[in-house]
Amino acid sequence: MIEVKHVSKSFQDGVKVLEDISTVFETGKTNLIIGQSGSGKTVLMKSTVGIYNVDEGSIIYDDKDGNGRDITKMNNNQLKLMHREIGMLFQGSALFDSMTVLENVKFPLDMFSTMEEDEKEARARECIERVDLTRACNLFPSEISGGMQKRAAIARAIVLNPRFLFCDEPNSGLDPKTSLMIDRLIQEITHEYGITTIINTHDMNSVLEIGENIVFINKGHKGWQGNKDEVYDTGCEALENLIFASELYKKIKKAHFIENK
């Protein structure tokens, strides 16, 4: 679990990007941060990971015993250790160009594990198999498709058994079918390993498909929090405008109400 308490963040130009955000990202669930472009959702995610220092507030990660650790008060070494419990999937996959898929997935093990070489390779292959990418093991990132790159990045993110998984717009640049597959894969992994997953997205398919805990950020403030079943009737105009902007989603909303009646 990650608890965000009264977090505010501004940049050098003085513009406040986040103001008094408080929320809880739950363990074993896919937690979504949604919002319009420029609403501050990426800043919230990067602040939660510790890439940005916040101006005020605290971000508390639980440890295995349930004790809280405030990432905003950690020094560089503590942060470095904390990051070893975190897996992250970047928008552009961020696979290392000079390494094959297998080497990419094995990289965190090479850096931090004390396993023997064959154990490392077996673990990396296990993760690659989990994301159904066995045939691409020896290919370089430039030789595989965007969807495969995302899956390889997921395999790399989970290879060290992280307790927290962050995904920054995992569906960007993917077709709807591949997006759905990536969403489901992330959700399955979250449930399977019982990790706290935080997904930054503005893909409304993801919201309706895997939104087990949704945090809506509107102009730097928390606008709403709930799950995918509650999203049809939030009473929040900005969120309604965001989710049900297209005719298709308006029809889906209508169908949902008819079905429920």
Binding site: I51, M88, F90, D97, F112
Partner: protein
């Protein structure tokens, strides 16, 4: 960002770079890769440039020393000292600043804009140490070898002129090469080349590591890296020459 902020930023990056590697095995693996990519791949261009410049210097020296009072072997001596003192350690390093520096800045810059460096940081890896230290170590240890090769090939270039043209006799040239040899000049060349290697690699890494934006900015960072490391090499050259030779 003003110049003082840049220097401060550069120093902070170097402090992060010179930490103890997370894994020595990974450091040596990277070191070996960088040695091949940045060092061994530069041998050919180094050999070609040095050979032809050595040959040209020999011809030009002979033409400028056509006074009958001057002994013929002076040409060989002048070629040797030009190569030892200035061409091989300084000019070759400026050429390498273009070849290796732009390579490093664009590689690290591309990693920055495609979030690969962020990925390393999120994994808990000291990205500056992992990416930059092996490059610096590889270049500081290999550029002196390139400089020695350059000196040797420059002298061979001169010998080629002596052997196959009537500009200077081989005997005169070889006598000049051996005449009044100062062994410290080799040490001086190696010291200079090691300092220049550090400048080339660290400045290029800094520009790549701190790039913000897209492909256009990576290109600009690459150009800035080459220009600034070349200027720094020239300034350091003056200081080292004053310190070591006078």
């Amino acid at each position: 960002m003003n110049a003082i902020e840049r220097v401060g930023d550069y120093c902070k990056l170097m402090i992060r770079t010179f930490g103890v590697p997370d894994r020595w095995s990974m450091f040596f693996k990277q070191y070996k890769n960088e040695l091949i990519k940045l060092g061994l791949d530069s041998i050919m261009i180094n050999v070609i440039i040095s050979f032809f410049i050595g040959a040209v210097i020999t011809i030009q020296m002979k033409l400028n020393m056509s006074n009958p009072i001057l002994p013929g072997y002076l040409t060989g001596l002048a070629v040797r000292d030009t190569l030892l003192l200035e061409f091989s350690p300084t000019i070759i390093c400026i050429i390498l600043a273009g070849k290796v520096g732009s390579n490093i800045a664009s590689e690290v810059g591309s990693m920055r804009i495609t979030e690969q460096i962020d990925a390393l940081d999120i994994m808990g890896v000291n990205s500056a140490n992992y990416l930059i230290l092996p490059k610096i170590a590889a270049m500081v240890s290999f550029i002196p070898c390139l400089v020695i090769i350059s000196i040797f090939m420059g002298i061979i270039g001169g010998l080629f002129v002596a052997e196959f043209t009537d500009t200077i006799t081989t005997h005169e040239y070889v006598t000049g090469i051996q005449f009044m040899f100062v062994p410290f000049y080799v040490t001086y060349a190696i010291i200079k080349s090691m300092v220049f290697a550090f400048i080339i690699t660290s400045v290029a890494s800094y520009y790549g590591y701190t790039v913000k934006g897209g492909a256009l900015e990576v290109g600009k960072a690459s150009t800035d890296a080459v220009v600034n490391s070349s200027i720094l090499i020239l300034m350091t050259n003056l200081m080292l020459t004053k310190l070591l030779l006078t």
